[in-house]
C-alpha cells in the first residue's frame, strides 16, 4: 500500500532535487519523526459548521501535536528524556542519530544501523523494507508488545525486550542481535521504550483532541496536562512492568521437561493437556482439532484490525458522499458535505501512503515446533497464561491478580507438555479423518 502515483513520485523527485540544491551535495536534512497520520486523520473528523476549510483546520491541529511532541521527546537526532519518563538519556543518545563513532570511538546511531530499515525512524513499523515482510515489523506506537513475562495489558520488562533482541523472533524477519555487545542491546531496548512512549503520547494527544476538544479549541499546553495527564500514566506503566510479572505455578508431578514431549514418562500429563486443548482451554477453536492452525483463518491482530476498520468506514463514506445529492442542499449543509468529502479523500490517501495493507493473522501451526516468543516451557506457559497481547489469542489464566482463569495455573503446565509433544505426534495418530495438512495443499 506504499506505492505512490506517478505524479507523487514526480513531486517527490522535484522536492529531492530542490532539497539537494538548497542544502548542497553530501548533506542530508536532519531526520524527523513522521506523524501518526492514521490517528491524526481519525482525530480530525470534520464537525458541522467548521469555519475554516477542513484542510487548514486539520493541518493546524496536526501541527500542534507535532510541536508538543518535539518539545516533549525531541527529534530522532536529539532525543529528550523528561525525568517523568525514567529513561536514561545517555543510552538514548547511543541509539539515536545517524550512524557514527563518537570521540572515544564508540559506535553511535545504533537504532538506525540495526532497526530503522524495518521498524522505521519513528518506530511505526513502516521502514523501507516493511511492506515486503510477513509478518510486518512491530509498530511500537501503540505500546503493545507480544512476548513478555508480564500481565497481558502490562508493558514488557526491560529484560523481556533485551531477551527478545538477543534471541530474535523465530518464524519472522526479526533476527537475533546476540552478537552485539550487551551495552548496545541495552541501549536499543531503552530506545524502543522511548519510541513507544512517544507513540503512545501521540495517540493520547490525538484521542484527547478527538474526544474532548471543540472545533475552535486547541490542546492545553500546561505541564498539568502534558506531563501529569498525558505522559505520567504512560511512563508509570513502563516503570511498573517489573512488578507486573505473572505468577508462575509450581510444575506438577508427572511433568518432566527434561524429556521430550512424547516420552512415556510424560504420558499422563500429555493426555491431561490434550483434554484441556480439546476442552476448557478452547485451543481447538483457532488452532484446529489437529493443531495445524487451521481452525480460524480470517482474523486480524490489533494493528491490522484498526486499519481494516477505518478502511471500511472510509470506503462506505466515500460511496455515500459521492452519491449525495448536493443540488438541494442549503449552503451550510453544502459546506459540511464538502468538509466531510475532503476528510474522506484525505483519509483514503493516508491509508494508501501511511499504512501497510492489512493482513490476517493465522493461528500458529503447533506441529512445526516454532514458537515465536521462545521455546522454553516457561515461554509457552506465559503465552497460554495471558494470551498474546495485540493478537486474537486469549489467555487461559486470570486476566489480572486475584482473578480466575478458565484453566487452573498448575494445569497450564499439562497444556505446555501437550503442545511440546505435538511436533512428535505421528501422522497416524491423527486418525483416518485427518484434515488437509500443509503438504496436501501444494
Amino acid at each position: 500500500m506504499r506505492q505512490s502515483s506517478p505524479s507523487h513520485r514526480f513531486v517527490a523527485a522535484i522536492i529531492a532535487i530542490v532539497t539537494v540544491a538548497a542544502v548542497g551535495c553530501g548533506k542530508t536534512p536532519p531526520a524527523s519523526f513522521r506523524l501518526n497520520m492514521v490517528q491524526a486523520t481519525k482525530a480530525t473528523v470534520p464537525e458541522s459548521g467548521l469555519e475554516k476549510p477542513w484542510a487548514s483546520w486539520s493541518r493546524e491541529r496536526q501541527q500542534q501535536v507535532a510541536t508538543i511532541l518535539e518539545a516533549m521527546f525531541g527529534t530522532p537526532d536529539e532525543p529528550v528524556a523528561l525525568p517523568e519518563t525514567g529513561l536514561d538519556l545517555a543510552k538514548l543518545q547511543l541509539a539515536a542519530g545517524p550512524v557514527r563513532s563518537d570521540i572515544v570511538g564508540r559506535k553511535n546511531g545504533l537504532y538506525r544501523e540495526h532497526c530503522a530499515h524495518c521498524h522505521g525512524i519513528s518506530g511505526d513499523g513502516m521502514g523501507p523494507t516493511a511492506a515486503f515482510l510477513n509478518p510486518y515489523p512491530r509498530d511500537y506506537r501503540q505500546g503493545k508488545f507480544k512476548f513478555k513475562s508480564t500481565w497481558r495489558d502490562a508493558k514488557p520488562t526491560h529484560d523481556d525486550l533485551v531477551r527478545l533482541l538477543h534471541e530474535g523472533v523465530i518464524g519472522t524477519s526479526m533476527p537475533s542481535f546476540a552478537l552485539l555487545p550487551p551495552a548496545q542491546v541495552d541501549a536499543l531496548a531503552e530506545y524502543v521504550k522511548y519510541l513507544s512512549m512517544r507513540g503512545e503520547a501521540e495517540i493520547a494527544l490525538f484521542t484527547y483532541a478527538e474526544q474532548e476538544l471543540g472545533a475552535d479549541e486547541a490542546l492545553p499546553t500546561t505541564k498539568e496536562f502534558l506531563v501529569d495527564e498525558v505522559l505520567t500514566p504512560i511512563a508509570e506503566k513502563w516503570q511498573g512492568a517489573a512488578d507486573a510479572r505473572i505468577p508462575v505455578a509450581a510444575i506438577p508431578a508427572g511433568v518432566d521437561f527434561n524429556l521430550p514431549g512424547n516420552d512415556l514418562a510424560n504420558r499422563d500429563s500429555v493426555a491431561r493437556g490434550k483434554a484441556l486443548f480439546l476442552g476448557d482451554g478452547g485451543c481447538v477453536k483457532c488452532h484446529g482439532v489437529t493443531a495445524l492452525g487451521d481452525g480460524q483463518a480470517n482474523d486480524y491482530d490489533d494493528w491490522n484490525k484498526a486499519i481494516v476498520a477505518v478502511s471500511a468506514e472510509v470506503a462506505v463514506g466515500l460511496l455515500s458522499s459521492k452519491e449525495a445529492a448536493t443540488g438541494g442542499m442549503s449552503s451550510d449543509a453544502l459546506a459540511d458535505h464538502r468538509a466531510r468529502s475532503a476528510w474522506l479523500d484525505s483519509f483514503a490517501h493516508v491509508l494508501e501512503g501511511d499504512a501497510l495493507r492489512p493482513r490476517t493473522i493465522p493461528p500458529r501451526n503447533l506441529r512445526i515446533g516454532h514458537y515465536r516468543g521462545g521455546r522454553r516451557p516457561i515461554d509457552l506457559y506465559r503465552r497460554l497464561y495471558t494470551g498474546i497481547n495485540g493478537a486474537p489469542m486469549p489467555g487461559v489464566g486470570p486476566s489480572g491478580p486475584g482473578g480466575k482463569g478458565s484453566v487452573a495455573d498448575e494445569e497450564i503446565w499439562h497444556l505446555v507438555n501437550y503442545i511440546r509433544s505435538l511436533p512428535y505426534e505421528m501422522d497416524g495418530e491423527l486418525g483416518a479423518d485427518r484434515p488437509m495438512v500443509a503438504k496436501d495443499r501444494f
Binding site: 495489558d153 484521542t207 474526544q211 478452547g282 480460524q296 463514506g317 494470551g387 489480572g400 478458565s406
Partner: protein, 260 residues
C-alpha cells in the same frame, strides 16, 4: 464523592457546581426520552454463520448495528452525563457498589448488546452457551482484556477509569459477535431499550451536559427535540434537570446519520 476532574472540563464542572448550588441541595430528577427514527429503516441483515454452525446456526442471528423496534424506536443509543464532577446521589452510589453487571455470551451473541458498567463495579462476563467463547474488550484508557470463557464459565473484569466512548467487545472465535461496553465514573448513563426509550434516574437538579452516542452513527451531532432541529457538536447537549423530572420527549434521528 465529589472528585476534582483531571480533564479540561473544569469550566463545565464549575458551572455544574453553580447550577447544582442554586437548586435545593437534595433535589434529584430523572431525565427521560425516546429515540425515534425519522424515516424508514432497512431490515437487519442476517449474519453468515460459519463457525460452530450446529450451535450458532439455529438462532437466525442478525447484524445488530442499527436496531429499530416498534414505533420506529432506535435501540442501543448511549446517553450519559458528561460532567466529570457531577454530584452522585449517595443511595445510587451505594447500589452500584453492591451490584454486579452481567454480560452474557448467549445464543452466540453478546447479551445485552450494549452493556453499562461503572468504574469500580464488577463486570461478570458469562458464557451460557454450550461452546467456548472469548470476550475481547478493547478499552482505550483501561487495560484491554481478552479472556477465554469455556462453556458455562465466567470471568470477572473491573475498570479503574472511565472511557470517553464505548469500547467494542468482540469474540475472536465467532467473528460476527460484536457488542459494546460503556464505562462511566457514575450511575448517570443509559442505553435505549428496544422501543427507543431511556431513563437516567437521580440526576442532581440543575444543568448537566449529556452526550449521545450510537455505534453506527458515532457521536450523534444532530437530532430533533420537540419538533425542533438541534445541533449537538460531538453529541453533547446541555439540559436543565428539574426535580420533578425532565422529559425530552421524542428525539428524532435522521436515517442519514446512520449511513456513514
Amino acid at each position: 464523592m465529589t472528585r476534582f476532574p483531571r480533564l479540561s472540563s473544569a469550566v463545565l464542572v464549575a458551572f455544574g457546581f453553580l447550577a447544582a448550588g442554586s437548586a435545593h441541595a437534595d433535589d434529584w430528577g430523572t431525565i427521560k426520552g425516546r429515540f425515534v427514527l425519522s424515516g424508514d429503516a432497512a431490515a437487519p441483515v442476517e449474519l453468515k454463520i460459519d463457525k460452530d454452525v450446529d450451535v450458532c446456526g439455529k438462532h437466525k442471528l442478525v447484524a445488530e448495528e442499527l436496531m429499530v423496534g416498534g414505533d420506529k424506536g432506535v435501540a442501543n443509543v448511549v446517553v450519559f452525563v458528561r460532567d466529570k464532577g457531577v454530584k452522585v446521589k449517595p443511595e445510587a452510589a451505594a447500589a452500584a457498589a453492591s451490584t454486579k453487571v452481567v454480560l452474557d455470551n448467549k445464543d452466540c451473541r453478546f447479551q445485552p448488546h450494549v452493556t453499562f458498567v461503572q468504574v469500580g463495579q464488577e463486570l461478570v462476563v458469562k458464557n451460557s452457551d454450550t461452546i467456548g467463547h472469548n470476550s475481547n474488550i478493547a478499552t482505550q484508557k483501561n487495560a484491554p482484556s481478552n479472556n477465554l470463557i469455556p462453556a458455562g464459565g465466567e470471568a470477572t473484569v473491573k475498570f479503574t477509569t472511565d472511557e470517553a466512548i464505548p469500547a467494542q467487545v468482540t469474540c475472536n472465535i465467532h467473528p460476527w459477535m460484536k457488542g459494546w461496553l460503556v464505562v462511566r465514573p457514575n450511575p448517570y448513563a443509559a442505553v435505549s431499550a428496544a422501543d427507543g426509550s431511556f431513563e437516567i434516574k437521580d440526576v442532581p437538579a440543575g444543568e448537566v451536559e449529556l452526550q449521545f452516542w450510537h455505534e453506527k452513527a458515532g457521536y450523534i451531532a444532530e437530532m430533533t427535540i420537540g419538533g425542533k432541529s438541534e445541533k449537538a457538536s460531538k453529541g453533547r447537549k446541555k439540559v436543565a434537570v428539574a426535580a420533578s423530572g425532565t422529559d425530552l420527549g421524542e428525539i428524532g434521528l435522521a436515517p442519514a446519520i446512520f449511513q456513514k
